[in-house]
Symmetry: C2
Amino acid sequence: MVVSPAALVDAAVIDPRIVRSRAAILRATANLLIESGSAGVTIEGIAERSGVAKTTIYRHWKSRSQLVFDAFESLLHPVAAYTQTGTLRQQLEAVLSQLSRGVTVSEWAPAISALIEAGDRDPELRQLVHDFLFVRMEHGRDALRAAIRGGELRADIDVDVAVGVLVGPIFYRRLVSREPLNDSVVAEIVDQFLRDSKP
Amino acid sequence: MVVSPAALVDAAVIDPRIVRSRAAILRATANLLIESGSAGVTIEGIAERSGVAKTTIYRHWKSRSQLVFDAFESLLHPVAAYTQTGTLRQQLEAVLSQLSRGVTVSEWAPAISALIEAGDRDPELRQLVHDFLFVRMEHGRDALRAAIRGGELRADIDVDVAVGVLVGPIFYRRLVSREPLNDSVVAEIVDQFLRDSKP
DNA sequence: CAGAAGAGCTACGATACCGTAGCGTAGTGG
DNA sequence: CCACTACGCTACGGTATCGTAGCTCTTCTG
């Protein structure tokens, strides 16, 4: 059942059938999430889509919400490695540009609104989303803090507000106004931010 | 059935029973939307909640999505009247402050994520949300344009990006980071924007 | 290669909704 | 006061999904 503690310690010992099933189930769930949102995910739909029997799904997950959670996680997990080099402007533009691509053309981009909506109701999912974003934002926050220390930015800037000013417009365009989201918009956002925030 | 063209012209002629039923249905639908999101709305749920028979609901709306649409609309419709006076800073702070209250403590605040998620899938709803927001943003846009003409802001500002920079952080905090959203944050956002954007 | 364990398959009973029909009741407006 | 109309109620047949049970078949593992 599920995964024994011993198996967690020695991963090589996991029955490959389990690995296959879990992977197929998660993949199918993620695809359904992307296509139909959180509400469109049904166990029977996953079974059909994945080719895995419904009973097998229940063998591995005891609740639908746990499965949805894990599927979200599998969708989000691959964290891109940032290389933090260049000027502050370059770093910010790189982060924001990557973010805009993430929310528009990435594999999980279609699931963003479902993710946010689900997070609004499910505290567990909320935490997941929060952690996911927090990790990514941390790079940007670091860059800002370093810039403040280095005198590139005014010292009285609230880093959290600054992050909001930088990434907020990205999410706003993706979720609310649905205006195009390209590198020139990103440049304008960074521009506006930097012009202001010098000491 | 529904509402005859004649009745639209002479509103006094509408059978009060119809008015009552429609109001009760819309109210119940809106409440369900707020509580359970778009997917949580079922005809039978509405019937139970409103005290209106299921058959009556079908008499007035031919599809569930139309009803959801109308319910959203009824929820959003009351447009607050802005009084555009004071300095640019005061106007911006007033608009953003009202927006932050709108997305956090208003009656429809709990439905925002559902609204956005539904809009991601249903083009009709997308248009509704877009129009709704566009109308409200128009005040802010006007204020910005006037300020540019009046020389209070740099002339090379992209008004749409500027709107994003101003309201983006609000939505970001509400939907993504879930950080607190109060007037001091609003002030900081406006501050940052204005300090930069002077000619 | 033999025992163990995972997976597939079918078939359930149980819910929850759907959308419609038929019929009696009650509120409305001339 | 009477004809009209909206409404409520009950009862459907139909679909989708749930979560479980029992059994067989396949695939690992040692």
